[in-house]
């Protein structure tokens, strides 16, 4: 690991900026997006639903603590974006995560699972290499995802914390990209769950940084927040380059824990 994992202080805690800007806040009463746009992207214009980025999300979430999202960026390898930011307007921490892509990335299809705390717009904003912003938005009916308990079996969750797994899938026909799914056992506590026996909130404990590389080449780097579901699960694409390649993942959490995994790139489907 040669590159330092960067960090953006507001990530996951955009509310801080919001509450210090009374005017923005007043506007945000009706539509939080107005303030969010300003706080995260400044005055930069964002093209909406222009086809460059698409977002799949369920209209009604079955489990608010585990809402699957899939983002597709059109145009193939040539138009690999600079970054992708996922936002949930009405979550306590609206920025779910920001992914930035490197030369190891394939055409961008990225799927993950998020917590949705209230009926809310969910957004995927892509920044192209040229610096333009493009957004797709879906309205999701879900509630209470941020305060829902992280995992169903508390003992198992504790015992397996930090375990990583990578699944690899066969290339889609006609695609030069490969697909893989990274799974991390981590409670990704939102800190919004109050322990009724003690009267205190369970402190937030979540993955802040994640970097995936193919050999030395960056596939993606993620800066995450509390709106990512427990047991973070990211399906992504990468561009295979040759023989004896290794995919590596390094994740860091709020407790300073560093989790690492590495897997040889397989020639076909591992399932």
């Amino acid at each position: 690991m040669t590159e330092r994992l960067s960090r953006r202080s507001v990530l996951g805690f955009v509310g801080a900026a919001l509450s210090s800007l009374p005017i923005t806040q007043a506007l945000a009463e009706d539509d939080p997006w107005l303030g969010l746009h300003q706080d995260v992207f400044g005055n930069r214009p964002i093209a909406e639903e222009d086809g460059l980025v698409t977002l799949e999300a369920p209209v009604r979430a079955e489990d608010a603590a585990l809402v699957p999202l899939t983002v597709r960026v059109s145009g193939g390898d040539a138009s690999r974006p600079r970054s992708l930011t996922l936002l949930i307007d009405r979550n306590p921490a609206p920025v779910v995560a920001t992914f930035s892509f490197g030369e190891g990335a394939g055409e961008v299809v990225l799927a993950t699972r998020v917590r949705v705390d209230a009926y809310s717009n969910v957004r995927a904003v892509v920044e192209t290499q040229a610096g333009s912003l493009h957004m797709a938005t879906r309205y999701v009916k879900a509630s209470g995802g941020c305060s829902a308990p992280a995992l169903k079996d508390s003992e198992l969750a504790e015992a397996e914390l930090g375990k990583m797994r990578l699944r690899q899938f066969a290339a889609a026909p006609g695609s030069t990209s490969r697909e893989a799914q990274l799974m991390i056992r981590h409670p990704n506590h939102s800190g919004l769950q109050m322990n009724q026996l003690t009267g205190y909130y369970i402190p937030a404990k979540f993955i802040t940084d994640l970097e995936v590389r193919r050999g030395a080449a960056l596939v993606f780097r993620m800066e995450g927040g509390i709106s990512l579901s427990a047991d973070p699960n990211i399906r992504f694409t990468f561009r295979p380059a040759g023989a004896d390649e290794v995919l590596t993942a390094v994740a860091k959490d709020t407790d300073g824990r560093v989790l690492r995994g590495s897997w040889p790139v397989k020639s076909g489907d591992d399932s």
């Binding site: 805690f13 509310g15 801080a16 919001l18 509450s19 799949e56 369920p58 079955e62 489990d63 585990l66 699957p68 899939t70 306590p92 921490a93 799927a111 699972r113 209470g144 305060s147 829902a148 308990p149 992280a150 169903k152 079996d153 508390s154 003992e155 198992l156 397996e160 797994r165 699944r167 899938f169 066969a170 697909e179 799974m183 056992r185 800190g191 919004l192 769950q193 109050m194 322990n195 009724q196 026996l197 003690t198 009267g199 205190y200 909130y201 369970i202 402190p203 937030a204 047991d231 699960n233 399906r235 489907d269 399932s271």
Partner: protein, 361 residues
């Protein structure tokens, strides 16, 4: 092993239930939980505010509700119960989701009368339902209610606990029940207050277990013993079964759903493994958590077993084929649709939970 007292210090327990002696006077502000509300270290003002106000609102509504429920409420109508075996009474809950009209009366509730005492098994989805269950018990017997057993953490089974506080019983649960409730109480109270509406929810508060069953425990009601067993993770991670050996009646809580589609909130692998074990338990009859008040044994386990096996086989296949959790949620288990009530309310959620579990195999 006998029941061991749970190890929470009294002050911590008080955060969930102050108990009659600690409960604030009517109209008094609920101070303690609020005063101790810490602001998490890197919490923004907006986040802290939203959390705090939420809890304040909850505490206030619960406080006022106690007054309404305890003094000014409508007369309590006893729940309808059936004596399914000598001294064993069961109230059948509705096949429904929480709604103001059913007050959260959607799970089967039971009580067993011994020579000296009464044990209650699950208390219903609200203080009002708990009161109505208590009235049904009092219509049958004056014996003291010494034990209130909760088969697991779900609100429809234990939100009526507070109605029994005046009896000063042992509130008994699986050793993981206290922790499971602690993590969920805030959300359970908020969601159910909303679903039931202020009238039906009035007086509802959580009472954490005062006694934990770690493995197996025996309760003596005088001339009849109840055997309590803490089960491994299945429907939830805190399922407790009760066996009345005098009549051979097995209370399975939500380890058995009949007609009502099973709801998965624990482990599908654990549940299927436990079913294999439970089927070998020698009992004359069972009481499911949802379904008719009485059933023969072990045949009624078959439909649930088939449902869980179907879900698990189809989910495993989708995982193997590299399909997504979103796709699974809309396609798995559809062959079971006509076999169950409330299928649309629970199936996709069960599939989602099963997928998140089985992809780690």
């Amino acid at each position: 092993m006998r029941i061991a007292a749970i190890s929470f210090p009294a002050t911590r327990r008080a955060m969930v239930d102050p108990g009659p002696q600690l409960r604030p006077a009517v109209g008094a502000k609920l101070r303690r939980p609020v005063a101790r509300l810490g602001r998490p270290p890197h919490w923004t003002r907006r986040q802290a505010l939203s959390g705090t106000l939420h809890w304040l609102a909850l505490a206030a509504s619960a406080g006022f509700a106690v007054r309404a429920g305890a003094q000014d409420g409508p007369p309590v109508v006893p729940l309808e119960v059936t004596e399914i075996a000598s001294g064993v009474f069961v109230h059948q809950g509705a096949y429904a989701l929480f709604a103001p009209s059913n007050r959260g009366d959607v799970a089967n509730l039971s009580f067993v009368v011994g020579r000296d005492a009464v044990a209650v098994i699950d208390t219903g989805g609200s203080f009002a339902v708990g009161q109505a269950l208590r009235a049904a018990i009092r219509a049958v017997t004056d014996k003291p209610i010494r034990h209130v057993i909760n088969t697991h953490m779900h609100p429809d089974h234990l939100f009526g606990n507070a109605a029994f506080a005046e009896d000063r019983p042992d509130f008994i649960g699986h050793h993981k029940l206290a922790q499971a409730l602690a993590a969920r109480a805030d959300r359970y109270l908020a969601v159910n207050a909303q679903l039931l509406g202020s009238e039906a929810f009035a007086g509802t508060r959580l009472i954490a277990p005062t006694r934990a069953v770690h493995d197996r425990a025996v309760i003596d009601l005088g001339g009849r013993e109840l055997i309590l067993e803490a089960q491994p993770t299945a429907h939830t991670d805190n399922d407790l079964t009760v066996h009345d050996t005098a009549t051979g009646t097995l209370f399975l809580g939500d380890l058995l759903f009949m007609r009502h589609i099973p709801a998965l909130d624990g482990s599908i692998r654990g549940w299927l493994a436990l079913i294999d074990r439970l089927e070998r338990v020698d009992a004359k009859r069972v009481v499911p958590g949802h379904g008719p008040p009485i059933a023969a044994w072990p045949e009624p386990m078959q439909p649930q077993k088939r449902y869980l096996e179907t879900i698990s086989a189809e989910v495993r296949r989708m995982i193997k084929e590299g399909r997504s959790i979103a796709e699974a949620a809309t396609t798995v288990g559809l062959s079971e649709k006509d076999a169950w009530l409330l299928f649309d309310a629970f199936n996709a959620r069960n599939v989602t939970a099963a997928f998140a579990e089985l992809e780690w195999e």
